[in-house]
């Protein structure tokens, strides 16, 4: 759909990766010890930019409260990350990662400042 909208293909690959990382996080963590629930995806492109949102009704998780992982030290295997890299990849695909929790619904949105220009 992003390609059909005429968005640049080099960015589309990064956004696809971001969606994959975010939905993997939902599969892995959001419903841990809960009954299976919804996984929603929403795309919105307007005159401010593109917003890709992943929605679930599992455990609340605000990635902006998680400190970025420290730079790995080549000499210290304890600092070599086996996880937590997904959010770095998500953030790099856009300009802002926003989290909102309303009631039981968690919405994690990646915003990219790439305004849609209406045809003249």
């Amino acid at each position: 759909m992003l390609t059909e909208w005429g968005l640049p293909s080099d960015r589309v690959a990064a956004w696809e990766m971001a969606v994959s990382e975010l939905t993997t996080n939902v599969f892995r963590h959001s419903y841990k010890n809960l009954s299976p629930g919804v996984l929603g995806l929403s795309l919105n492109w307007d005159d401010t930019g593109l917003t890709i949102s992943v929605i679930d009704e599992g455990h609340p998780f605000d990635p902006n409260l998680v400190p970025p992982p420290p730079d790995p030290d080549p000499a210290d295997p304890r600092t070599w990350p086996e996880g937590g890299m997904g959010l770095m990849m998500v953030r790099s695909a856009g300009d802002d990662l926003r989290y909102a929790s309303t009631g039981k619904r968690n919405v994690l949105s990646l915003f990219t400042a790439l305004p849609r220009v209406s045809p003249a």
Binding site: M17, T24, P72, P74, E82, M88
Partner: protein, 112 residues
Amino acid sequence: MKLQTRDTAGVRIVVLAGALDAGSAGNVRQELGGFVKSGNVRLALDLAAVDRIDSTGLGALVTTLKAARDKGGDLVLAGLTPSVRAIVELTRLHRVFEIYGTVDSAAKELER
């Protein structure tokens, strides 16, 4: 994801092809971990035909690297495509893995 191996002097060359992501990382982790457990602790991974890598795939490589180093070996990467290299650099893992242009040069280095 396809995985093929060939051995040179003391080095197991592992050629991966396809997507190294959440769908395949579990198998890859198990295969590579099995090599280390059975004493093949020097691994050179050829990633030239890996067209996609995600955080779960990278995690599998880091797990194997730690296991290999624990046993006095190593795991090195070779042949990264520009998009895979960009992700390795973004996640700062180029500080952790030795990276070579070709798997043959990687294997030669590991043979020393």
